[in-house]
């Protein structure tokens, strides 16, 4: 649950700084050429007086030349920490005998032994242990071990937002980093599942988890968000620069500032490893262009800092500030407009301890991606784990990965008995209003439809907060026909999975107050007159999902899927002459 921490009545949170906090992060690389580029990065940051966090890799801890370079460049106010990438070296092979290049996939005992050795060596060199570490993926088991063995570590880069299926394809089927389905913003990870935000202090690992880069929140749905991120080098990979210019990148930064108005804080992670600033990098046409764009990024941050809109801090400083503003159980929201194409597309993301939800306004506000967290599934990785390489937090809805537009999502239809329209056939603009601590109303603009020649105008709004419930309200603003004939159907089409191939759904049971239907790909359905709720019990996700009518519904429907379209359907039908309120509620199947 969210915690009241003092609000101005009817206004914004009293703790509000309306500020974006940015980390400028570097990784110390063992290669000489890379360190020359890193010298450029450090030099530009110091010229502008911006603090940086430099994360040392395993080989550089034992490389006197690399350490000497770092010693020359690190300035007052900068932070040093550790990064668990670039571990492929002879010393690692000799000491640990592991050929796996990615630490998140190592056997547990050796994984923690390497981390122990890095912390010990760091402490020996610098006289105190690190406060910040980073990895592309750090699972819950590893985070718990770090918390227990190395309490100095308070902030960690623990995941790459929405890197999974699309990055696997985009990287020529060779980048096996699967961590789809987590939060995009910093959070306190759950002790049981590092992609789920903790529900409370007892559930939380006491380490502030930050993402590796910010990502474009529309491209995170429909493309490779590693191409469209807070990384001046990555925009060259996406070919959206023209020489040293990339206006998109600065619209992108501005958009993260906007998120502070909705949350009271926002976070921007600029983590550019030095090879991206070399002309020899396979994505970089001209070294001077990428370096100029990197400099422009830092100058932009400096300018916004001077304008009072942004604060550049080290990772450790950010973690401390985050702990002042956010507690386990809090929710975060993102209202993202199309910064790349500058079309009118908008999406809204919510993340809390119970679920991550994505409303696509291009589809009338349909719920297009839904990751229930209440089951607290074990997503640990490595040879001892059930998932091995697959750390994706499972979805119940993912129109991009499984089922497409027509066979998954939560959406609504309206009929007059003769003609039917789907509310997801119209693009909306939305307003997102902060209504209290961790609580927001998303208001879709009124939308006009042609229902058999009669104009129909419908308005939808969604109430999002830190709880397990999403409330969906709809009302008719205008109808030229007989209002008493209108029926609204709230529909949830779901199928559990983590990738593009369907999984076996046969454990799922569909229920209403007096009926039950076991999923068996029969295509059968049951209608229940006057149903107050319809529900799916989903052992695969460890949750139940309920559509609950907050005003009387005419009927509910439970519908089994088919092998060819394996989504189950929950549906509530209403008399739409009055406004409707429907709640989508998740609960753990077992109490936590």
């Amino acid at each position: 649950m969210a915690h009241l921490r003092g609000f101005l009545a009817g206004g914004m949170p009293s703790f509000i700084f309306l500020m974006l906090i940015s980390n400028i992060i570097h990784r110390l690389d063992g290669r000489v050429a890379s360190r020359e580029a890193l010298g450029f990065q450090w030099g530009e940051a110091r010229r502008l007086g911006l603090p940086t966090t430099t994360l040392l890799t395993y080989p550089t801890l034992f490389d006197p030349v690399a350490l000497a370079d770092a010693g020359r460049w690190i300035g007052p106010g900068d932070e040093l920490g550790l990064h668990f990438h670039e571990i492929k070296c002879n010393r690692v092979l000799d000491r640990f005998g592991v050929r796996e290049p990615m630490l998140w996939l190592w056997p547990r005992e050796k994984r923690i032994a390497l981390i122990d050795e890095m912390v010990t060596e760091f402490t020996k060199i610098f006289g105190k242990p690190p406060a910040s570490v980073g990895g592309y993926v750090i699972d819950a088991w590893t985070l718990r071990e770090i918390e227990r063995r190395h309490p100095s570590i308070r902030t960690a880069i623990t995941s790459c937002f929405e890197e999974g299926v699309k990055m696997y394809y985009g990287n020529n089927r060779n980048w096996l980093l699967f961590s789809d389905g987590g939060p995009w913003n910093p959070y306190f990870p759950s002790r049981e599942n590092a992609l789920a935000p903790a529900a409370n202090t007892e559930d939380a690992i006491d380490i502030v988890a930050v993402p590796h880069l910010n990502r474009d929140m529309i491209m995170a749905l429909s493309s490779r968000d590693d191409w469209f991120a807070s990384h001046p080098g990555n925009v060259f990979r996406a070919r959206i620069n023209e020489g040293a210019k990339c206006p998109y990148l600065f619209r992108f930064y501005q958009a993260w500032e906007h998120q502070a108005e909705l949350n009271g804080w926002s976070y921007l992670n600029i983590f550019v490893s030095s090879p991206w600033l070399l002309g020899s990098h396979w994505c970089i046409d001209r070294e001077e262009d990428v370096r100029a764009l990197y400099t422009e990024t830092l100058e932009y941050l400096k300018g916004r800092e001077e304008a009072g809109a942004l604060q550049v801090a080290t990772m450790n400083e950010f973690g401390r500030e985050f702990r002042q503003r956010v507690q386990p159980g809090d929710a975060t929201i993102c209202h993202w407009r199309d910064e790349l194409g500058q079309s009118k597309r908008e999406v809204v993301w919510l993340s809390n301890a119970h679920h991550r939800s994505t409303l696509d306004m291009a589809r009338g506000g349909a719920l297009v991606d839904f990751r229930p967290y209440d089951g607290r599934l074990n997503l640990d990785l490595g040879p001892e784990s059930q998932g091995l390489w697959n750390g994706n937090a499972p979805f119940l809805v993912s129109t991009e990965h499984n089922g497409g537009h027509w066979n998954t999502s939560q959406h609504a239809t309206v009929t007059n008995g003769q003609h039917t329209v789907s509310l997801c056939d119209r693009r909306l603009r939305a307003d997102v209003e902060w209504t209290g601590e961790c609580s927001w109303i998303v208001r879709g603009e009124p939308t006009r439809f042609d229902l058999g020649g009669n104009a129909l105008v419908v308005e939808s709004e969604w109430e999002l907060n830190a709880s397990e419930m999403i409330a969906i309200r709809r009302r008719v603003l205008e109808y030229q026909g007989d209002l008493s004939t209108l029926r609204l159907s709230e529909i949830f089409l779901g199928r559990a999975g983590t990738t593009e191939y369907p999984e076996d759904q046969r454990e799922t049971r569909l229920r209403s107050p007096h009926t039950e239907l076991q999923v068996s790909y029969s295509g059968t359905s049951q209608e229940i007159d006057g149903a107050k709720w319809v529900e799916a019990m989903i052992p695969r996700l460890g949750i139940s999902l309920r559509l609950s009518a907050q005003v009387p519904a005419l009927r509910g429907t439970l519908a089994d899927g088919l092998l060819f379209s394996p989504s189950f359907r929950l549906q509530l039908d209403y008399d739409f002459s009055n406004p409707t309120v429907t709640c989508l509620i998740t609960r753990p199947l077992k109490s936590r």
Partner: protein
Amino acid sequence: MPDNTSAQKPLICPACFAREIDPVFLHFDPEDGGEFYCQHCGYTAKTRGDVKAFLRDFLRHRHGVGQL
């Protein structure tokens, strides 16, 4: 159904087509000055001609030939 102009067949999204996703129909937004848009990927265009030009050029260059 896609909300294209009634007299012509729906336009497909050339950007989704370039990603080898089967035809995703573009919607047309008569408000806001008119805009063709894809619900799937965010592609937008001001005119039918723009959409067709994208598709035509993509097809021509994809196969490395001057004429289809």
